[in-house]
Amino acid sequence: MGEIVVTTIRYYTATILILLSLATLGCAVRRVDFNDPIKAEGLLFIQPGKTTLHEVVDRLGGPEDLNVTPHHILAEFRWSTTRSASLNLGYLFRFVSPVSPSMTMSGTGINIERLLITCDERLVVRSYAFGKADDHAFLEFWPF
């Protein structure tokens, strides 16, 4: 009885492994991270009217951009995650044909996020706000 159970488990494990291998044939997953994400919880130390841009930069790193307006200096922090996945269905032809045509479905999601900090001329923080961003799925094969 015990021997039958062990054999059945081995059979299922082998089947799952074969299915997983087939499912990932011709797959490619790519990711590009630009800077570390900044969370709202990480900005609790900022006290508008007291905290300076220097203190912010010490904790978050330098802003990617600074803009000067007549009354303010705007510091823009940017970070992003880009995910791309592709599935080459033509790869399956390698089993039956010496030539494997390319039949690739591919999707890419770029998720750029921003934090804008407004400072006065003495570089004291007056306010800050996050930009809105899309949240893309981990795997986006379907291009349609």
């Binding site: 990711r31 590009v32 630009f34 220097h54 600074l66 000067v68």
Partner: protein
């Protein structure tokens, strides 16, 4: 003379690293922090700043102030290229330096943030 054990270790190492790719990219020159420390607010002149740090990558103007922007990007990219399944990661971080120069051409303030120390070769196509 290779023993069987070392031969096996070499073989296992070769098999383990098969399909591994490691690459690196940089944009600009790393910002020299020793040079930064020599810049004194209210004293150092525009010409000295350029002599120390080179020409800025960008100049932002406004409110009778020039802001010299220097940047440096460092990217590390690990990848695993197997027969039928590939994973790529590209980790990029930036350093940014802003030097505020008043209309007399004297340094008034410096903002410098360094992130490139933290860029790594972690292969992580998953996760948030």
């Amino acid at each position: 003379m290779l023993t069987t054990k070392s031969l096996i270790i070499c073989l296992v190492l070769c098999l383990m690293t098969t399909g591994c790719v490691v690459s690196r990219g940089r944009v600009g020159n790393p910002i020299n922090e020793q040079h930064l420390q020599t810049i004194q607010k209210g004293v150092t002149q525009r010409g000295e700043i350029i002599e120390l740090l080179g020409a800025p990558d960008r100049i932002i103007t406004g409110n009778e102030t020039d802001i010299y922007h220097y940047y440096y990007y460092d990217a590390k990219s690990p990848a695993l290229i197997l027969l039928a399944f590939n994973i790529f990661s590209f980790n990029v971080k930036s350093d940014n330096l802003y030097v505020f120069i008043d209309k007399q051409g004297v340094a008034q303030d410096i903002i410098y943030g360094k992130r490139t120390d933290g860029v790594d070769f972690t292969l992580r196509p998953w996760g948030k």
